[in-house]
């Protein structure tokens, strides 16, 4: 079998992106760390948002990371799946709302 594009062990090397651009890499990880701290939203709520977004952007590394993060926080599988559906609903809604554009165009071009 040919090599896959995604290698699960690459997630461990995420920090290496700083090697080729220290200033930007550092700024990104500082920002990333700050975002997920306890704030007006709890770290638990942010973990579920991250899990939903991970699915929407279809990032296998993020899905691995935030499934594990959820388990650590005691988040249940029912909560995780509901978060995935929340992401999926917005994504499919975003597709379907373009249907209005299609309808508008259709009406404009039709006699």
């Amino acid at each position: 079998m040919s090599k896959p594009y995604y290698d699960p062990s690459d997630l461990r090397k995420f920090g290496n992106i700083t090697d080729w651009s220290e200033a930007l890499g550092k700024k990104f990880f500082d920002y990333y760390g700050k975002v997920f701290e306890e704030g007006a939203l709890s770290a638990r709520e942010k973990s579920l948002i991250a899990l939903a977004v991970s699915h929407v952007v279809k990032c296998p590394y993020c899905i691995d990371a935030y499934t594990q993060d959820g388990l650590k926080r005691g988040i249940t599988k029912e909560e995780m799946m509901e978060a995935v559906h929340a992401g999926a609903a917005i994504e499919s809604g975003a597709t379907l709302v373009h249907g209005v554009q299609m309808m508008n165009k259709y009406e404009k071009l039709s006699m």
Binding site: R12, A43, R44, Q68, L71, K72, R73, G74, T76
Partner: protein, 351 residues
């Protein structure tokens, strides 16, 4: 669901030497990950030395009514190793003279030792500050002869510490066996009924959380708050503290890690989460572990790996505090379990 211990199944991981070999091979042999010893060397903390003895943890036997998937003791109904009254007497003699403020009874299910109640009564007379019994909860409901355990604990002012991996039935039973969750809830209600775990009560009831899988525990305070909310609103159950404990890669948990192809990733998680601040407070620096047959170990995990203390004094009958405090603590890669994140010990996090 597991029904038999690794030992009964003749599994190669029932062999302590084999476990230690595994823990030193692979990613550690190749140098991909630093050994625990190397990690300590880089902090100038090698060899690891004990401070003064504060906790005497006595394992009164490996027999248990449960066969938990993650058990580092490989305990179960088929384990026959049980501490005799003679060894208990040797422990009592030591408790009298050590000055350790905490006595911690564990197992197996310590209550299954036929001399358990005698031992508790005798040890209470000596008077230690904190007398812990690690109860798996289900033993209280397992048989009529155990129904009065909450009253017995209360009478001797025992500090009860019990395991509970999650506030949902599915995750608890998956780790600890079918029916364990409901039996545990029933036992917690019995303990609450006599005053254990109530907000202002001096009858201490703490819970231990172990992750039910190949991941590290999350923040202890956040988990405690979630457990309290769920147990109180769903079952009207109260408890004091939650101790989150990392699963160490030995015995049945090691078997699970290897069988589920999670071993390497788990070791990476432990090493990546290595916290130098946790090294200063690892429990082997203030605890001694005594096995059912009276041998001395740096901790309960080393007991299961058959790593006796590195000291001329190796048995409770020859106990000598000064000689033992000069020893060097035995380590291997399983020790990463106690230094990951906020650290881990039988008393929860250490930082």
């Amino acid at each position: 669901m597991l029904l038999k211990s690794l030992k009964k199944r003749d599994n190669e991981l029932a062999n302590a030497k084999r476990q230690l070999e595994l823990l030193s091979n692979g990613v550690f042999r190749s140098g991909e990950l630093p050994t625990f010893g190397k990690q300590l060397e880089s902090l100038n903390q090698f060899p690891l030395k004990p401070k003064s003895l504060e906790i005497l943890q006595i394992n009164v036997g490996y027999m248990c009514n449960q066969v938990c998937a993650h058990c580092h003791v490989d305990a179960g109904p088929d384990r026959k190793e049980i501490m005799t009254r003679e060894t208990m007497q040797q422990c009592l003699d030591v408790i009298k003279k050590t000055g350790a403020h905490t006595l911690d009874l564990t197992g197996g299910a310590p209550e299954m030792n036929p001399d358990f109640r005698w031992f508790v009564e005798e040890a209470t007379k000596i008077g230690v500050k904190d007398f812990i019994v690690r109860s798996n909860l289900t033993i209280i409901t397992a048989n009529k002869k155990y129904y009065d355990l909450p009253d017995f604990f209360k009478k001797h002012n025992i500090h009860v510490i019990s395991s509970m991996p999650h506030w949902t039935q599915g995750k608890t039973d998956q780790q600890r066996g079918d029916g364990v969750f409901n039996a545990s809830i029933k036992a917690l209600k019995m303990l609450n009924a006599v005053g254990y775990g109530m907000p202002e009560s001096e009858l201490k009831l703490d819970l231990v959380y172990n992750p039910s899988g190949a991941f590290l525990p999350g923040d202890q305070a956040a988990l405690e708050s979630d457990f309290k909310k769920a147990l109180s609103s769903n079952f009207d159950i109260q408890f004091h503290q939650l101790f989150s404990i990392t699963n160490l890669p030995i015995s049945r948990f090691l078997d699970y890690l290897i069988a589920s192809d999670n071993y390497e990733d788990y070791m990476y998680s432990l090493v990546e989460a290595f916290n130098p601040a946790a090294v200063n407070n690892v429990m082997c620096t203030n605890t001694l572990s005594v096995s059912w047959d009276g041998w001395l170990y740096d901790c309960d995990f080393n007991q299961m790996l058959e790593l006796k203390v590195d000291s001329p004094v190796k048995h409770i009958r020859n106990f000598n505090k000064e000689a033992l405090e000069k020893r060097t603590i035995c380590i291997s890669q399983h020790c990463y379990g106690c230094t990951a994140g906020a650290g881990s010990s039988c008393q929860g996090t250490v930082t």
